[in-house]
Structure formats: C-alpha cells, structure tokens
C-alpha cells in the first residue's frame, strides 16, 4: 500500500536514517558509560556464593562445583530450562513441517566426514557426560556434542525413519524433562522437598538425570536444526 511511496525518495530516506543513527548513538554511548561506571563501582573482591557451594559440595553427589549447582543446588532452574528447550521445539513444530530436502547427494567429502566424525562425536558426548561429575563437562555440553553429530548426519542426507518419527521421537525429546520431573516428584513423595536428593544417592540420581537430559538435548537441538516437524511420509 505504502510501498510506492517508499520507493522514490531514497536519498531523503537515507539521510534521515543517518541522522537517526547519530541521534541514537548519543543515548546509547551514555548508556554504555553509565553501565561501565556501575560495573567499575563494584568491589574488587567478592566471593559470591562460592563459599556456600564449597561448604556443601561434599554432600552434593558430584565434585565439579558447576555441575553441583546446575543439577543439585539450583536444579530447579535446569528443570525449567529443559522445559524452555522442549518448548522452543514445540514452537518450531507448530509453525509447520520441515522443508523437503533439495540436494539428493551430499557429496563424498561430507559423507566420509560424517562417517568418521559421528562415532567420534558420540564417544566424546559420552565422555563429557561421564566426566561432568568431577571435571568440566556435563549434560549440556554432552548433549550439544551429540546434537552436532546429529546435524552432521542430517547434512549428509540421513533422515529418521518414519517408523520412529512419531511417538518414539517424541519420547526421546521428552525423556530429559520427564525423568528430571519424575525424580524430583518421587523425592518429594518420599518425604523430602522437591528435588531433595538423599546424599548417598545424589551422585547416581544426578547421573541418571544427566544421561536422559543429554539424550533429549541432543535430539532436540538436532531437531531444531531440521527447522520443522518431521512430516509423515515425507521421507525421500
């Protein structure tokens, strides 16, 4: 409707845009200076919550403090965050089906690469998952490495068999949040608070949750890469 108006006075539009940019740069620079000042005004020593974490690390079930925070002390955040990931996928699926594949052959290099890399990446994911208890690593890192393997497979032209693209795929996507929620509720029903691990089982339960979460995160991220829901009968 207004397109015809916009098309003509390009030069005038451009100069107005330049003015706008200049005008915008002033308050934003002020914002940057103000925020910078605020940051610099903070004390140069602040332990945050590291002492609290160190004090309770013993009974958290893991020895990597970041994993302890993610899966135990602030596990509830992580639970909701798995919800965010699943929700994003639901949103993408509600927007339509995945686009049909155009290129029939992905090329020899990619195929070789995926054949070599995928097993390696799955190994790395498993390693990261296992090592997350006591060293850097954990479910999110492992899950995203797993997803990278999935993305490579998708790039090489592999598609999930339609037999599995229904309930089995959905189960795989829900597993992380589902297991996490189930453990949380069972612990609550057993007499504790929501997500209150008994210290002797904490390590095992965290590993269980992380394994399920890794699987789901990997599947969800790879499915997000597909950019739509896998439609029945759309393979090949």
């Amino acid at each position: 409707m207004k397109k015809s108006n916009n098309a003509k006075p390009i030069t005038e539009n451009d100069s107005r845009q330049a003015q706008f940019r200049l005008l915008l740069a002033v308050p934003l620079s002020a914002l940057a200076v103000g925020l910078g000042y605020a940051v610099l005004s903070l004390p140069s020593q602040a332990p945050g919550l590291s002492d609290h974490v160190a004090a309770k690390l013993e009974i958290s079930g893991v020895s990597n403090p970041v994993t302890a925070v993610l899966l135990n002390f602030r596990g509830y955040d992580t639970l909701l965050e798995l919800g965010v990931l699943l929700l994003a996928l639901l949103g993408v699926w509600s927007l339509g089906a995945a686009p049909k594949r155009r290129e029939p052959s992905p090329g020899l290099v990619l195929e070789l690469l995926s054949r070599l890399l995928v097993p390696l990446l799955i190994l790395v994911a498993g390693y990261l998952l296992w090592v997350g208890g006591h060293a850097p690593g954990g479910a999110f890192q492992a899950g995203s490495v797993l997803a990278t393997a999935g993305v490579l497979l998708l790039l090489a032209g592999w598609r999930l068999d339609t037999r599995f693209s229904g309930l089995p795929l959905r189960l795989a996507l829900v597993a992380g949040l589902g297991v996490f929620l189930l453990v949380a509720v069972v612990l609550m029903l057993a007499g504790g608070h929501l997500l209150e691990y008994p210290p002797s089982f904490a390590g095992a339960l965290i590993l269980l949750i992380e394994a399920a979460a890794t699987f789901s995160i990997g599947t969800a991220l790879a499915a997000l890469f597909l950019g739509g829901r896998p439609e029945k009968g759309s393979h090949r």
Binding site: P99, R102, P136, F225
Partner: protein, 101 residues
Amino acid sequence: METVTLLQPVFDTLLGLALLWLAWRALASPDLFKAIVLFITFGLLMVLAWVRLDAPDVALAEAAIGTGLTGALLLAALTRLNSKSDAKSVHEKEQQRKAHN
C-alpha cells in the same frame, strides 16, 4: 614466568578489543553470509575469553552450542532464506489475488 604475567594483560586487552571489533563487523557487514561467519568467529573468541576467565564449563558449552549449533542454525536459515523460490511465489500469488479483488 615474568614475561607470562606481563603478557597476560596485553593478551586480555587484545582479546577484548578483538571481541568488540568482530561483533561490530558481524553486525555491520552488508553481506549476510559474511556476517554469520564473522559471528561464528566471534563465538570462537568468546571461548578463549571463557578460558581466560577460568570458566572451562562455560567454554565447553559455548564451543559446542554457542558457535557450533548456533552457527549451523544461522547458516541453515540463511540457505533457506536465499533459496526459497517458493517463498516469493506464495507472496506474489497473494498479491495477485489482492489485485484481482
């Protein structure tokens, strides 16, 4: 040892400036493909920053998610954006329909 401690502030400053510069280039680049590649490079430098800040867990997450997957998502979206011939046709059909009415 001396030289290492002396070099560290220099390295940090350079890394910080490089981050800002790359972010700026990525956001100002006229070519979208270039912008995304610059953004992925920016993510790789962020991994270095996390390592410097003693945050190996964050570095791993950033390397796998921040650069790897986000980059793949962005590139895939760009491919679909550029090659979407049917996108135009749907819109044009719509326009024609409107013109007829």
